[in-house]
């Protein structure tokens, strides 16, 4: 099991249940919560130093893919790794998410081990030169 160091993780997700789930599962991390894509962008502007973004797809106001598009077009945020965690689990959904710039795609319902593996890998492998 990958150990997760204290990192800043932006969670863009409309379900309060899943926010609570991340809070419990990613206890060593500092979580920044946003409930839709629009709020996600606002939080990102306040916390440009986040290490990872966990992103849902189906959200009100601005979907996860729209948010991802905005993030990838913003030079300051483009290098932040984005992990999509969604109930949309068809092959084309996964391909669309990865093509849009996500580094990993996890289908709900997910196992804690799988989430920790991904977040652990991203927070330990990531090196400074990747960020602008």
């Amino acid at each position: 099991m990958n150990a997760i160091k204290t990192r800043k993780v932006l969670v863009v997700e409309d379900s309060r249940l899943i926010h609570k789930m991340y809070e419990v599962m990613l206890r060593p991390c500092m979580l920044i919560a946003a409930h839709d894509g629009r709020e996600g962008l606002a939080r990102l502007a306040e916390h440009p130093d986040v290490d990872v973004i966990i992103l849902d797809i189906n959200m009100p106001h601005m979907t996860g893919l729209e948010f991802l598009g905005e993030v990838k077009q913003t030079p300051d945020f483009a290098a932040i790794p984005v992990v999509i965690v969604s109930t949309e689990g068809k092959e084309e959904d996964v391909a669309r998410g990865l093509k849009a710039g996500a580094v990993a795609y996890l289908k709900k319902p997910f196992q804690r081990e799988d989430l920790l593996k991904i977040i652990g890998r991203l927070t330990t492998d990531r090196t400074a030169p990747q960020r602008r």
Binding site: M1, L17, K20, M21, M25, T87, P109, Q111, R112, E113
Partner: protein
């Protein structure tokens, strides 16, 4: 016979003295014997240590097995921790609010995000207990009751679960329902969650899903019951406060 004490190192220099040669020869023999003794001791030690190799190899193999067993056990424990976290969060979230609408949306979030339900409906007995209202429906459920406001019976799986309050898995003939989760408070069935379709990447419900469904059956009902009672009490309180205000004005 007496021998002249001589420095053995100097013996070799007395080339012409037979006694000195003899002494040197004695010294050489002594040195040789010592070397042989040391060599034999070394051989004995090596034999002894080579005898330990198989034993050490066996110990190493045992240690390796133990390590693998511990790693497997650790993974199992980690998985179990994950399951417990899921159950904890579901319970926590169900009881985190006293608003009936919030409890209902938490039930829906659990169904979608933790169980992987794509189509489901929530039936709840109305306040006077006369009918089972279809309070929430996700997706287009292909069932005769899905277009009505209340459920009045007819689905064999749902009817059976409502009757005895036992979790039931389908589908069975005459019912498109995959699972019926009766919601029970103090042995009274106050409603049911019906799941009719899972997400496309979720092949079937497993034992871990059953744990969450069992939890829902117990905690969703009590959370709904508590929130309804609270809402009713809050409504009465507001009415009384308004009445008092009117009396004071009068």
């Amino acid at each position: 016979m007496a021998f002249r004490e001589q420095n053995p190192n100097a013996a070799g220099t007395d080339n012409g003295d037979p006694l000195a040669t003899l002494m040197r020869a004695r010294q050489l023999i002594h040195d040789a014997q010592q070397a042989i003794e040391e060599a034999s001791q070394s051989v004995v030690q090596q034999r002894a240590s080579s005898g330990e190799i198989p034993e050490r190899e066996a110990r190493l193999a045992r240690a390796e097995n133990d390590r693998e067993e511990l790693a497997t056990r650790l993974l199992e424990v980690e998985h179990q921790v994950g399951r417990l976290m899921t159950l904890y969060v579901a319970t926590y979230q169900l009881h985190a609010t006293l608003d009936p609408a919030d409890v209902q949306s938490t039930i829906a979030e659990i169904a979608v995000n933790l169980i992987g339900a794509q189509q489901f409906a929530l039936l709840l007995r109305n306040e006077d207990g006369s009918a089972l209202e279809i309070r929430m429906q996700e997706g287009n459920i292909d069932a005769p009751w899905s277009s009505a406001a209340t459920y009045s019976g007819g689905d064999p799986l749902v009817d059976a679960a409502l009757l005895d309050g036992v979790l039931r898995f389908g589908p069975v003939e005459g019912s498109p329902v995959l699972v019926v989760v009766p919601l029970r408070v103090q042995d009274v069935t106050v409603g049911a969650l019906l799941i009719t379709r899972l997400l496309s990447h979720k092949a079937k419900l497993d034992e871990e899903d059953r744990e969450i469904l069992d939890l829902l059956g117990a905690h969703a009902a009590s959370a709904l019951f508590a929130s309804r009672v609270y809402a009713r009490a809050a409504r009465k309180l507001r009415t009384l406060e308004d009445l008092i205000k009117l009396v004071k004005k009068g």
